[in-house]
């Protein structure tokens, strides 16, 4: 009996003293977070490389005589001649629900001081996007809570919708509103106990932003109670470019976990302009040839392989992406904006002029589109908002025309009046997304002419009063609209009656 054990133990001893093979190299030069390394002849592209002191590098340039690595983490203790080893692993980050409510860096390490994250699983940061066979077309809505967007530029789960505009035009606010709205919907849906309800979890990736801005965003999410459904991935302007380069891919990996596990997630990349700049910086240090605007030749691939990972998978979940791009003086034909426009399923274009006129959110209806979202729009919104885009376009045209002539026929006049009121109705303060059933009710009242007698300047307070009226007094009706998602004769009659009731009580 003991001889058997001896035999097994001998075998174990043999195994545990078996030599481990490692591939090594030495740092030849070290500058700006990039190391050039001699040796490492076995290294793979994008492989994790271990530096002394626990720092991690990613092999990005595989050349004949050297390997270029970007280093993540503390580089102050590294020096030339240090030995590095390959790990045989691609970079991975923790994924799963344990990350919800937390702020992490590009490697998934917590940065919010709330203690370690108990993640059970890890996903590779770089992953091949799902192929066409496993994908399903977009057909479930993802409500942003912004009336102008949900009614005219609807977004579906699995879609990639670009938010584009100059600096300070409210891009981040739209993304945050959407995240807050998901949290609100989640709370209502989970409380209702509906087994078919699918919550949407959010991932907000901050790239190259000032830390003060990130803190403001976190505070807004916390104040709205949305943090518990949100993962924040932060690579601020103070982080080295390698972390900024990596952060969106880490966020995408965290989102993919939800998608692969049959759940829905939303990811915001704020913003990809700064991401491209970080990548350009790395590429220039790696001495890669540069092209237009000094970006390297593969900058298109940088964003296409990221955004292609958003999808709706057959029999699984979905990952919706809201990438953000900052333009200069509204120029959408610059290099990075055109690239990303061509990869996404549409864009929400924000205009400085509108923003300064006080039309906020400053969505330019004419230049914004959603190429796949209308398949996901609920019937109720289609019923009350189907003609809005056309009406607004006509209004813009007539308004420009009306500046010259004074004699307008009655029809033109009423179109102008209606248009001015729609513009007012679409104004919405930051961080206050509207539930879709409330949007439908307001738009219904507008279509039925309840705002026509009200002075255009007073439409905003009137709409606010109506929202108040519906939320406090017509809860049952709102719930009915939400669950049926379409207006039948019965609901329409009830809505008409509610609006009449509001009108008789409104004195403003």
């Amino acid at each position: 009996m003991s001889t058997v054990l001896d035999q097994i133990e001998q075998q174990i001893a043999k195994l545990s003293t078996k030599a481990v093979k490692k591939n090594t190299g030495n740092i030849r030069t070290l500058a700006d977070g990039v190391a050039k390394i001699d040796g490492l002849s076995d290294v793979m592209y994008n492989e994790m490389v271990a530096f002394p002191g626990g720092a991690i590098g990613i092999a990005l340039n595989l050349e004949e005589s050297e390997v270029g690595c970007v280093i993540l983490g503390d580089i102050s203790k590294l020096k030339e001649g240090d030995e590095v080893t390959t790990t045989g692993k691609l970079l991975s980050v923790p994924v799963g629900k344990a990350l919800l409510g937390r702020a992490v860096d590009a490697l998934g390490n917590p940065v919010d001081g709330k203690g370690p994250i108990d993640a059970k699983e890890f996903y590779p940061v770089e992953r091949i996007a799902p192929g066409i066979i496993v994908r399903k077309s977009v057909s479930q809505p993802l409500f942003t809570g912004i009336m102008a967007i949900d009614s005219m530029i609807p977004i579906g789960r699995g879609q990639r919708e670009l938010i584009i505009g100059d600096r300070g035009t409210g891009k981040t606010t739209i993304a945050i509103d959407t995240i807050i709205n998901q949290a609100k919907i989640n709370k209502v849906g989970l409380a209702s106990g509906d087994p078919k309800f699918r919550p949407v979890y959010s991932i907000y990736v901050a790239i190259g932003q000032k830390n003060s801005n990130i803190v403001r965003t976190i505070a807004a999410l916390e104040a709205a109670g949305a943090l518990e459904f949100t993962i924040l991935v932060c690579a601020s302007a103070a982080d080295n470019p390698a972390n900024q380069y990596l952060a969106p891919y880490s966020g995408a990996a965290m989102g993919e976990w939800f998608m692969e596990n049959g759940q829905d997630a939303l990811i915001v990349y704020d913003d990809l302009s700064k991401h491209a700049v970080a990548y350009r910086q790395i590429s220039l240090i790696l001495k890669r040839p540069s092209g237009r605007e000094a970006y390297p030749g593969d900058v298109f691939y940088l964003h296409s392989r990221l955004l292609e990972r958003s999808a709706r998978l057959d029999g699984k979940g979905s990952l919706t992406a809201l990438p953000i791009i900052e333009t200069l003086a509204g120029d959408v034909s610059a290099y990075i904006p055109t690239n990303v426009i061509s990869i996404t399923d549409g864009q929400i274009f924000l205009e400085t002029d509108l923003f300064n006129q006080g039309i906020r959110p400053a969505v330019s209806v004419g230049l914004s589109v959603s190429r796949v979202g209308s398949a996901a729009q609920i019937k109720a919104t289609k019923q009350v908002g189907g003609k809005l885009k056309g009406e607004l376009a006509q209004f813009r045209e007539l308004a420009a025309f009306a500046q010259f002539g004074s004699d307008l026929d009655a029809k033109t006049k009423s179109q102008l009046e209606r248009g001015a009121r729609i513009v007012e109705l679409f104004k919405q303060p930051a961080f206050s997304p509207l539930p879709i059933e409330l949007q439908v009710s307001i738009l219904f009242a507008m279509q039925k002419g309840f705002f026509d007698p009200i002075d255009a300047k007073k439409v905003v307070p009137a709409a606010a009063a109506m929202k108040d009226f519906f939320t406090t007094r017509k809860d049952a009706l709102l719930t009915e609209i939400r669950t049926k998602a379409a207006l039948d004769k019965d609901i329409e009659a009830k809505l008409q009656a509610a609006c009449d009731e509001w009108k008789s009580g409104y004195t403003g």
């Binding site: 093979k21 490692k22 591939n23 090594t24 001699d38 040796g39 005589s65």
Partner: protein
């Protein structure tokens, strides 16, 4: 026109290719290359020679198994390592012993930029990294 450093690299690579006969670095050829560089001395000679040295050193390291060991190592063990490495790398590999008491026990073998670790200190390091 390529930058001077690039040109030196290219030239060094060409010289290196000339120095390899049947997969091994030939001492005669290297002597010839050195004589050639000395005769055609230019501003770039230093750069070229440095790059050349690196290429040759890398190549030589591939056919030499540097065996670091703590305590004594028998010549038959060395011969066994040389034979194994010759088989693994499909090229003649000779084994050279180097004493390194820091390993505590066992051996560590370097061939080119590959390292085979079977020392106690290596196992301790792996253990330390995993806890």
């Amino acid at each position: 026109m390529a930058a001077p450093a690039k040109q030196a690299q290219l030239l060094a690579r060409q010289l290196f290719k000339l120095s390899v006969v049947d997969g091994t670095v030939s001492a005669d050829r290297v002597a010839g290359v050195l004589a050639y560089v000395e005769k055609h001395a230019s501003a770039q000679s230093l750069l070229v020679l440095k790059a050349y040295r690196r290429l040759v050193a890398t190549e030589l390291a591939k056919s030499e198994a540097r065996v670091e060991h703590a305590g004594a190592i028998s010549s038959s063990a060395l011969a066994a390592i040389a034979a194994t490495m010759t088989k693994t790398y499909r090229r003649p590999v000779t084994a050279v012993a180097r004493a390194n008491p820091a390993l505590l026990a066992g051996v560590r073998v370097h061939v080119g930029d590959d390292v085979y670790e079977s020392s106690v200190s290596g196992q301790l390091a792996a253990l330390a990294a995993s806890v």
